[in-house]
Amino acid sequence: MTTAGAQATDVSPRITVGTQEVGLTAGYLLSTRLKHYPTKQEGPAFMPSWMITLTDPIGDSWYRGQISLGAEFVYIQYQEPVLTHGVGFTPKIKYTFVAQDRIRPYAEFAGGPFWTDLAGKIPEQHSQFNFILTAGFGVSYFLTDQTALNAGCRFQHISNAHTSLPNVGLNSILPFGGFSFYF
């Protein structure tokens, strides 16, 4: 009984349909060269985001989880190879595994338009208007039933969908950390 009572007081976030999440994520972008091109872009990235939960938990096994949809604003300050900037807006979908109460892994995917003045200064991309695609995994650790710390890693691809040439694309990984507030 004592154990049950103690567990009842543990953090157990009650995230239902319509629960909203605002968060701020920051990380450091590291280049991954999939082809033989010289640019090794890197720099800090900041991503404020908003999401809304679309479903109650689905499934009964380890994959039990919830889907949420939202959008993210992306700002990247490229410090290498030259100091430049990039901004983008990406709708985002996330699947959060809720089998554990406090620790909730998630997978996310986002994509949208991205503008950067790094283009034109590197051989891979010449047009400033591009698209950014992001896929990643992370883990949320709930401090309370409304606040969580997040950490994870993303893969990012930036290219212009062949709207102009050259369009080799820039690939990078982004280890990140952040926090979220649920309401």
Partner: protein
């Protein structure tokens, strides 16, 4: 000329954004018409001296067939509805003491079976489409959340006779993405529960004479009905699309 064109596009953009945000927040609830909901309110008379107390013996809650923890909120709501009809002299919850066996009182057992369908597959696909459209399609793609309840109330008289009442109701919340709130789900559940309880009370009121103190003598050797029932629901899903409007 260029400035005028820019202003024009800015105004159009702002209007589009306002329309998307306002229409994207819409939500409405459809309720199923229950069999008893069309009945006229029934009125019966009971003398105060004929009223007996009612004690809640057990409250069972299942959700999509799985047993759930006891919800005091549900119990309080049922007791509140019973209080409103005024059939019983006193109402006691599951935590209150039972009157002595040689006194006349009614023992109540409640089973509340909920069926929830948030349409997760639909929501996922629609979410992807809405996201891919940069939220422009939000006003045109509604999402759904179904909730149905089947309530069984068993009332056991002091002489061991049992009356069983049943009602079921359901509803669907339709909402646009930006209108999704947990409040909306609570509203849907509230309407469905209210509909179920109203139907139950209508059935009970018809049996007013069954619960009067003079309807049966107290047994010299009081009995108690004993039963074990499976908590697994044998109900088929309630169709929730024959709407009668909010």
């Amino acid at each position: 000329m260029k400035a005028t064109l820019s202003l024009c596009w800015t105004v159009i953009g702002c209007c589009g954004l306002i329309v998307t945000l306002t229409t994207g927040c819409a939500r409405w609830i459809e309720l199923t018409a229950t069999a008893d909901s069309s009945q006229e309110p029934s009125v019966r008379v009971i003398a105060r001296a004929e009223q007996v107390p009612l004690v809640m013996d057990s409250v069972g809650i299942t959700r999509n067939g799985s047993p759930q923890n006891l919800s005091l909120e549900t119990e309080q709501r049922v007791l509140g509805t019973l209080r409103e009809i005024g059939l019983f002299s006193h109402l006691g919850g599951t935590d209150s003491a039972e009157p002595p066996a040689n006194e006349k009182f009614i023992r109540a057992r409640l089973l509340f079976d909920e069926a929830i369908d948030p349409h997760p597959g639909d929501a996922a696909w629609k979410g992807i489409v809405i996201g891919a459209s940069m939220f422009i399609l939000t006003p045109f793609i509604p999402l759904e959340y179904d909730y149905a309840a089947h309530v069984i109330l068993e009332l056991e008289r002091w002489d061991g006779q049992v009356k069983r009442y049943e009602s079921q109701s359901g509803g669907t919340a339709h909402y646009q993405l930006f209108g999704a709130t947990s409040l909306m789900i609570d509203e849907l559940k509230g309407h469905v529960t209210e509909s179920c309880l109203t139907a139950l009370m209508q059935q009970m009121v018809y049996d007013t004479t069954f619960y009067t103190a003079s309807s049966a003598p107290v047994l010299e050797r009081p009995i108690r009905s004993v039963s074990v029932k499976s908590k697994r629901s044998t109900l088929t899903p309630v169709s929730m699309y024959t709407s009668s409007g909010k």
